[in-house]
């Protein structure tokens, strides 16, 4: 499933994040890379952005960007 589909307080493991593009590399460096555990912490006022807990820090992503990352429960 997609990272953006996680409900609040649900956790999963990232199975795919494209680290080839500049933006993807940035995501990977921030901790959004295959094998990392991620928790959806809070959805924003308007469903986007969404705060995730990854690599020990809280990071906000837009829904559209979270759509690019795949996870398994």
């Amino acid at each position: 499933m997609l990272l953006s589909e996680l409900k609040e307080n649900q956790s999963a493991v990232i199975s795919f994040c494209n680290c080839e593009t500049d933006f993807g590399r940035r995501l990977c460096d921030m901790g959004f890379r295959s094998g990392e555990r991620v928790v959806c912490v809070k959805r924003g006022l308007f469903k986007s952005p969404i705060i995730y807990l990854v690599c020990g820090s809280l990071t906000a992503l837009r829904k559209a960007d979270a759509d690019k990352i795949e996870v398994v429960l």
Binding site: D22, F23, R25, R26, L27, C28, D29, M30, G31, R33, V39, V41, K42, G44, L45, F46, K47, S48, P49, I51, L53, C55, G56, S57, L58, T59, A60, L61, R62, A64, D65
Partner: protein, 596 residues
């Protein structure tokens, strides 16, 4: 003995600037959000008879991405070949931080790692074995809590040892090809720290980031800051006013007793000094109260939350939530807001943030707004604060609409992305923050007052007193501007004041009053309400007051901001747009109010 070069690198918001300040005894501005430091800053310190030059780089997650700060950091290290690189990392997120450590190792072996924010990590139950980490990495590791100065002496010693080649670190991680060190980071992090508990959202975030409450809570916090500013600035104002009044008389008497000519006394005392005194007594107190309070909110960590909440509306206006951060900085000073737009990585969105920044009133414009609100719209501080808050929200709305307009016309494109780390709340260091920001603001305003208000007072006095066929030049100018002013619900004098106030927004109101006073038979004023009556006698109505407020929110950026815009964009077109856009917004709104 030649200078030894030290470079401070690290992820954003891990306290590099705090370490920098502790090492050098400087008072570099720090804040609790990603990208507070966007420029490299340089300073010097002495340790064991050695002269060190230290450079604080903007924070970067790695050195290989194509963002501007990362480029600056990489190029700087490559070209300057420092004698020692200090990599500051957040102890709570060791694994991620190690990626940067690895990359720095590939550039130089003269590296020392600072495990900063140890107090926060401890609170979160994270303990790192620094000896083991040092052994695994092959470079010295120093534990520190820079805010309270812990570990700084040890760091100084390590810098000294490395840059004098007394110890030669041998980095043990070698990255080849596409390997970015993710695996190595995971292994090392697992080896040196106990498995940590997951962090939870701070209870306050449930209020500040949730649907029903967030907007109200943020408005409440800003409203409170404005309320304190308005209700407390009267006291220092009255005090300074009394002081300056007696000073003014004494200086005039002294000059006369020294045999100065009447016109010279008039020019010096009633021209130059009076404007200076006005700026200091009426304009300075609100700024000196607002700015420290605002810095406290910044240190605490409110701004990234605001950016988070506002990202969606800004995305709809083809920009991003980080623009809200630029607006916040703009509340302090538009020039700072414009420079701060560097945190936005998309060039298009950055240009939008720069061009629209002066739609946010800097605190040089607050005193004028506060004075007019309390003279014409509200008698008590609470109501004044609410009205001022409404003006701020309105300016935020206009910022969004203008961004949308720019995004649809000259700066077309898709909104890019938004990745932002949400830092933990940090208890502000009350005294340090207040003292630092107070000193910074007071000095800045005083200096500007002397550089700008004094010459402006001189010019106004000359214009008012040099007469051509019985009418002063000032009157000529004001009546020439009068027709345009009238269309906008203002008058020639106000418009003239805004134009002459181009070097600094603080002097707009003093200039307008000086002009009214010098052309009419009105004498000195003794309180804000008396000021109001001066304005009333010159034909002001509630509508005029509203138009002045709106035009003060939306006109052209001050000289310093405009120069910064040019420096940041290197584009005459964008600089031109930054003048035309707010000016047309202000002009049309004023005309609209005037017709209604």
């Amino acid at each position: 003995m030649s200078k030894r070069r030290v470079v401070l690198a690290g992820n954003p918001n891990v306290g590099k600037s705090t370490v920098f300040n502790e090492l050098t005894g400087m008072h570099q501005h720090t804040g609790n959000w990603i990208g507070k430091t966007v420029e490299t800053s340089k300073s010097r310190f002495y340790y064991k008879f050695n002269d060190y030059e230290i450079v604080d780089l903007p924070g970067t997650y790695t050195l290989s991405s194509s963002s501007r700060e990362e480029e600056i950091a990489r190029d700087f290290i490559n070209s300057s070949l420092p004698d020692c690189i200090v990599c500051v990392i957040d102890s709570s997120v060791l694994e991620r931080s190690l990626l940067l450590v690895f990359q720095l190792m590939q550039l130089s072996n003269k590296l020392v790692v600072v495990l900063n924010l140890c107090d926060e990590a401890k609170k979160r139950g994270i303990f790192i074995d620094d000896q083991k980490l040092s052994a695994l990495l092959g470079v010295p590791v120093v534990k520190a809590t820079a805010r309270s100065g812990k570990g700084i002496n040890n760091l100084l010693e390590q810098i000294h040892l490395i840059s004098t080649n007394a110890i030669v670190p041998k980095p043990r991680i070698v990255l080849e090809g596409d390997n970015r060190g993710y695996e190595a980071a995971r292994e090392i992090a697992a080896a040196v720290q106990k498995p940590k508990e997951d962090i939870k959202l701070h209870p306050l975030d449930k209020i500040l980031l949730s649907k029903g409450t967030s907007i109200l809570a943020m408005l409440g916090l800003f409203g409170l800051v404005l309320y304190i500013t308005i209700s407390f600035s009267n006291y220092p104002s009255a005090l300074l006013k009394g002081l300056f009044d007696s000073l003014e008389t004494k200086i005039a008497q002294l000059l006369i007793s020294l045999g100065a000519a009447d016109w010279a006394v008039n020019l010096f005392v009633f021209g130059m000094l009076r404007v200076l005194f006005f700026v200091v007594s009426v304009m300075l107190p609100p700024m000196a109260i607002f700015f420290p309070l605002f810095s406290l909110l910044e240190d605490w960590g409110l701004f990234p939350r605001l950016a988070f909440n506002l990202d969606y509306p800004f995305e709809k206006c083809s920009s991003c939530g980080k623009q809200a951060l630029c607006c916040c900085m703009g509340l302090g000073c538009n020039a700072v807001g414009v420079t701060g737009a560097r945190i936005i990585s998309s060039p298009r969105e950055r240009a939008i943030a720069i061009i629209t920044n002066s739609l946010t009133p800097c605190n040089g414009r607050f005193p004028l707004l506060i004075a007019i609100i309390s003279m014409f719209f509200a008698k008590n501080a609470a109501l004044s604060a609410i009205i001022l808050l409404a003006f701020l929200c309105f300016s935020m709305l206009m910022t969004m609409l203008s961004s949308k307009l720019l995004g649809k016309t000259v700066l077309k494109g898709m909104p890019s992305s938004f990745i932002m780390e949400l830092p933990p709340y940090r208890k502000p260091q009350l005294f340090k923050t207040i003292l630092n920001s107070l000193r910074e603001k007071v000095l800045f305003v005083l200096l500007r007052a002397i550089c700008v208000a004094v010459p402006a007072g001189l010019i106004i006095w000359l214009l008012a007193n040099i007469k051509v066929s019985g009418i002063s030049i000032l009157n000529y100018m004001a009546s020439a501007l009068n027709p345009i002013g009238r269309i906008m619900g203002l008058d020639g004098v106000i418009l003239l004041a805004f134009i002459l106030g181009f070097p600094a927004n603080e002097i707009v109101l003093p200039i307008a009053l000086m002009t009214y006073l010098s052309s009419g038979a009105l004498s000195d004023y003794s309180s804000l309400s008396e000021l109001g009556s001066i304005l009333l006698q010159n034909g002001w109505t509630v509508k005029t007051a509203l138009c002045v407020c709106v035009f003060s929110l939306f006109h052209f950026p001050c000289a310093a901001t405009l120069l910064t815009i040019y420096r940041e964009t290197k584009s005459t077109f964008y600089t031109f747009l930054s003048v035309i856009l707010p000016l047309s917004v202000g002009f049309s709104l004023c005309c609209l109010i005037n017709v209604l």
